[in-house]
């Protein structure tokens, strides 16, 4: 267990340090959300109607931004070989990295999102739904993103490939997530949050194994 905790702590420290991915993701998320009204117009009712979707899509893009270096940085500098030879299995390594990525990207985004929702005039009723849906959805984004980035770990500029590969796989998360927030605006309960929870509940435990399989094949060829 301490090996898992060691890797988790190292990744969090690396992300928090200067040039780490935590600040990068938050900055990108804030930039996209503030840029949008400049493009679309600041009319409150219009912004309110698209706020849920914008926040969710910006969160997904911010996650993708920091995901592509999840394994590639360690692959390129030889750390992945040492991890493969350590007592911690590749599945454990993938699990620790997914958790570290969520803690340094998914969670901070969720905490920051209400602040940015104010910029988009999101109706007050939707704030709890926004928080809950992001809290449930971002782990699934990290999980599926980790699988995709494990597949492209040997690709020189794999980061460009990631959005294309991950887009169809993430549609359920965006649909249920944004759908939940939209429904909560007019006080409805359309059960989107339960689908999101179920989706996250399935992908989270499985993704370390699929990601480990992808890493194993990329290491051994």
């Amino acid at each position: 267990m301490s090996a898992f905790a060691a890797l988790l702590a190292r990744d969090i420290r690396l992300a928090a340090r200067a040039g780490g991915s935590a600040m990068l993701a938050l900055g990108f998320f804030a930039a996209v959300v503030t840029l949008l009204p400049l493009g679309i117009g600041s009319e409150a009712r219009l912004l309110a109607s698209i706020a849920a979707g914008v926040l969710w899509i910006a969160a997904v893009l911010a996650n993708l931004l920091t995901l592509d270096r999840l394994f590639q940085a360690d692959y390129e500098d030889g750390s992945l070989d040492l991890f493969a030879l350590s007592p911690l299995s590749l599945e454990g390594i993938a699990g620790a990295k997914i958790m570290a990525h969520w803690l340094t990207t998914g969670l901070p985004l969720t905490i920051l999102s209400p602040l940015l929702a104010v910029l988009l005039h999101l109706p007050a009723a939707a704030y709890p739904a926004l928080l809950v849906s992001l809290l449930t959805g971002t782990p699934a984004i990290s999980a599926i993103g980790a699988v995709a980035t494990a597949l492209t770990v040997t690709v020189r500029r794999g980061g460009l490939l990631l959005p294309l590969i991950v887009l169809p796989l993430l549609t359920p998360v965006v649909i249920f997530g944004a759908g939940t927030v939209l429904a909560s605006i007019d006080g409805l309960q359309n059960g989107g949050i339960w689908f999101l929870a179920a989706f996250a509940g399935v992908t989270l435990p499985l993704s370390p194994f699929v990601a480990a399989a992808a890493l194993r094949l990329n290491l051994s060829e």
């Binding site: 905790a5 060691a6 890797l7 070989d81 030879l85 007592p87």
Partner: protein, 205 residues
């Protein structure tokens, strides 16, 4: 150091990306012995080391690792006995030298106190709290050597260890290897520049 008596490979072949890198390579390494793998670039020295480490599956042939009465077949199990020193030094620029070693100590499950001793051994104690981005290539290689010593694994696999080391670095490497062999360790070294170490030679075509 977990006891390890012998490592033996017979008829080993390695195929990477559809190309046969090498065919029917055999060697035998007993406790306290070293083997230097020589050969031109692209002859598969690194692939052989990765194959012994279990990172690469062997296309054909067998590899035994035996210690006392147990024989280890499964290649991921074999990985736990390997001290790996690869081309890249696996050094993170944002972490300090001490942090890096403490992390690998916890990852491998060895005692963290021996970190300062390991840094001392390779002459990096002064740079302990320096982020690794400020270390020179030679210092990074010494840090990798400190990690190798720290993990206390019986079978050392060294891939071009002499690269980036100055004269003192080279002599440090040789003394550390002799110490390792003296305490019953084994070592496989892939290199193409000469290394004056009493060891068997394996020539890869």
């Amino acid at each position: 150091m977990t006891p390890l008596d012998c490592v033996e490979g017979k008829g080993l072949a390695c195929v990477r990306g559809g190309r046969t890198v090498f065919r029917d390579v055999g060697f035998r390494l007993a406790r306290g012995e070293a083997l230097v793998v020589e050969g031109p670039n692209g002859s598969g020295k690194t692939s052989l080391l990765r194959l012994v480490a279990g990172l690469l599956p062997a296309a054909s042939g067998t590899l035994w690792v035996s210690g006392g009465d147990i024989v280890i077949e499964e290649r991921e199990e074999r990985g736990k006995l390997i001290g790996w020193l690869g081309h890249h030094d696996a050094v993170k620029p944002q972490l300090t030298a001490a942090e890096l070693l403490r992390f690998f100590a916890r990852l491998q499950g060895t005692r963290a106190q021996s970190v300062t001793a390991a840094l001392e051994r390779v002459g990096l104690s002064c740079a302990a709290d320096l982020p690794c981005q400020y270390l020179s290539a030679g210092q990074k290689k010494r840090l990798a050597l400190a990690r190798l010593k720290l993990c206390g694994r019986p079978l050392w696999l060294l891939d071009e260890p002499l690269a980036a080391l100055d004269a003192d670095g080279k002599s440090l490497l040789l003394t550390m290897m002799r110490e390792h062999l003296a305490t019953g360790g084994l070592a496989l070294v892939a290199t193409h520049d000469p290394i004056d170490l009493e060891a068997a030679r394996l020539q890869l075509a």
